[in-house]
């Protein structure tokens, strides 16, 4: 029984270490680019921004988009204890898109009517652990090169 417990705890510890490492790596832009470069096809990977935030916080990642260009924005989150609400808003906070209707939606296809800055907003769920952090990222893909 003692051996079984030790074995179980070892597995848990290894899983924790591996998962922690994975999370840290997953917020690296290089890793995100590697993961999404093919996933965004037939669009072309054009840019990425990521960062860690505390759970329960809201973060906004700004993206400059040109009028009449075909864009697809992908959203990546990792390390949160629940679904993350994602909104795309204009600089004056008009809502362009939200995933509230379908929290599993991981991208949005968009052809802006005018060149402007758009903001991808991540509203993350609170966690019992105040120090818990998660990774959020936006991947910009486009067509028409």
């Amino acid at each position: 029984m003692k051996k079984l417990i030790i074995h179980f705890l070892s597995v848990v510890a290894i899983t924790f270490i591996a998962n922690s490492h994975l999370s840290a790596q997953q917020c690296k832009l290089k890793q995100i680019k590697k993961e999404y470069k093919n996933k965004v096809e037939p669009y072309m990977f054009e840019g990425v921004a990521s960062g860690y935030i505390f759970t329960g916080e809201t973060a906004r990642i700004p993206v400059t988009l040109y009028a009449n260009q075909k864009y697809r924005l992908y959203f990546f989150t990792d390390g949160f204890d629940g679904p993350v609400t994602i909104n795309i808003v204009t600089r004056n906070r008009f809502l362009v898109w939200t995933n509230k209707e379908n929290m599993m939606e991981d991208h949005f296809t968009f052809m802006p009517k005018k060149s402007d800055d758009y903001f991808v907003e991540f509203v993350t769920p609170k966690s019992a652990d105040e120090d818990a952090r998660g990774c959020v990222a936006v991947i910009l893909a486009s067509r028409g090169f």
């Binding site: 848990v12 899983t15 924790f16 998962n19 922690s20 690296k28 832009l29 290089k30 680019k33 072309m44 990977f45 054009e46 840019g47 990425v48 921004a49 990521s50 960062g51 809201t58 973060a59 906004r60 990642i61 700004p62 993206v63 400059t64 988009l65 009028a67 260009q69 075909k70 989150t77 990792d78 390390g79 949160f80 629940g82 993350v84 909104n87 204009t90 906070r93 008009f94 809502l95 898109w97 939200t98 599993m104 939606e105 991981d106 991208h107 949005f108 296809t109 968009f110 052809m111 009517k113 005018k114 060149s115 402007d116 800055d117 907003e121 652990d129 936006v138 486009s142 028409g144 090169f145």
Partner: protein, 285 residues
């Protein structure tokens, strides 16, 4: 206890990360007037880098607007070994990147190879040669020179790799200097050709470049304690003021206002950008 939390969260995280949305067959046409988002009460975090348009995207848009190739407006690539200060090397990396995109999409294949070689040389001097070496970018570029789609893909990959590498490795000074220099080079080329042709489409795109510019200035102001940008920020602010003169009617939430530059305004922008550019870019003899 925390161990269990991570173990339990992992499948959920995986599920969220892998959750594929429905494939959208059409490009959504969104009317942003309809809904106003809830006001965010929590503090917005400002530690994210803005996603700026790539040099290739900008070059393609200018080409589509009627900017043809003009060998007299690109930098002299033969002088790429003469830049010894890291600031100048980072600056020229940005200049050559735009010249690379501009020449490649206009089928100036040999010239684009030269710009890529110059960029690789400068990357070596700056200690960031991994960007070029990781994917054998130069040799693949030389092997695919006749295939414009492959060329675009390789250039786009090089630009995104550069962006990712510099951000991941906290080389924001190199990133911001080269991005700013690239921005100036794009405006230098386009304003010169707009002055020659008077094409409204090109002028309108020059106006659009103000979006990236304001973010570049803002990002540089946020990082002045980590890097010496010299007079670059104030130079860019001067260009920003000159470009603002073209905004004839204001934008609305959904529609762009009228942006136009008359001959005098265009000439003053050409002269201003040329003066700033000449601080670093080797002038042709």
């Amino acid at each position: 206890m925390n161990y269990f939390k991570y173990v339990l969260v992992a499948p959920l995280t995986l599920l969220l990360a892998c959750g594929g949305g429905k494939e959208s067959a059409k490009v959504d046409d969104v009317d942003v007037d309809k809904i106003h988002a809830d006001t965010v009460t929590k503090k917005d975090l400002d530690n994210f880098m803005h996603i700026l348009p790539s040099h290739l995207r900008v070059a393609m848009m200018f080409k589509n607007a009627g900017v043809n190739y003009n060998a007299t407006v690109v930098a002299d690539v033969s002088k790429h070994t003469t830049f010894e200060k890291p600031y100048d090397q980072a600056y020229m990396l940005g200049v050559y990147s735009v010249d690379l995109a501009y020449s490649a999409i206009n089928n100036q294949t040999q010239q684009s190879v030269n710009f890529m070689k110059a960029g690789k040389y400068l990357a070596q001097q700056l200690g960031i040669e991994q960007i070029y070496e990781a994917n054998n970018t130069l040799s693949r570029f030389e092997s695919n020179m006749e295939d414009i789609d492959s060329v675009k893909t390789l250039i786009n990959d090089l630009f995104t790799e550069t962006d990712v590498f510099l951000k991941d490795n906290d080389k924001l000074d190199v990133l911001l200097i080269s991005m700013s220099a690239g921005w100036l080079e794009a405006v230098y080329i386009s304003s010169n050709l707009a002055a020659q042709t008077g094409k409204r489409e090109i002028i309108s795109l020059i106006g659009d470049q103000r979006l990236s510019l304001s973010h570049l200035i803002s990002m540089m102001n946020s990082h002045t304690e980590h890097a010496d940008f010299g007079t670059l920020v104030s130079d860019l602010e001067t260009v920003q003021k000159a470009l603002e003169k073209g905004q004839k009617t204001p934008d609305t939430e959904t529609m762009a206002g009228v942006y136009d530059l008359n001959k005098d305004e265009l000439k003053s922008i050409v002269d201003l950008v040329e003066k700033i550019r000449s601080k670093v870019v080797a002038t042709k003899s």
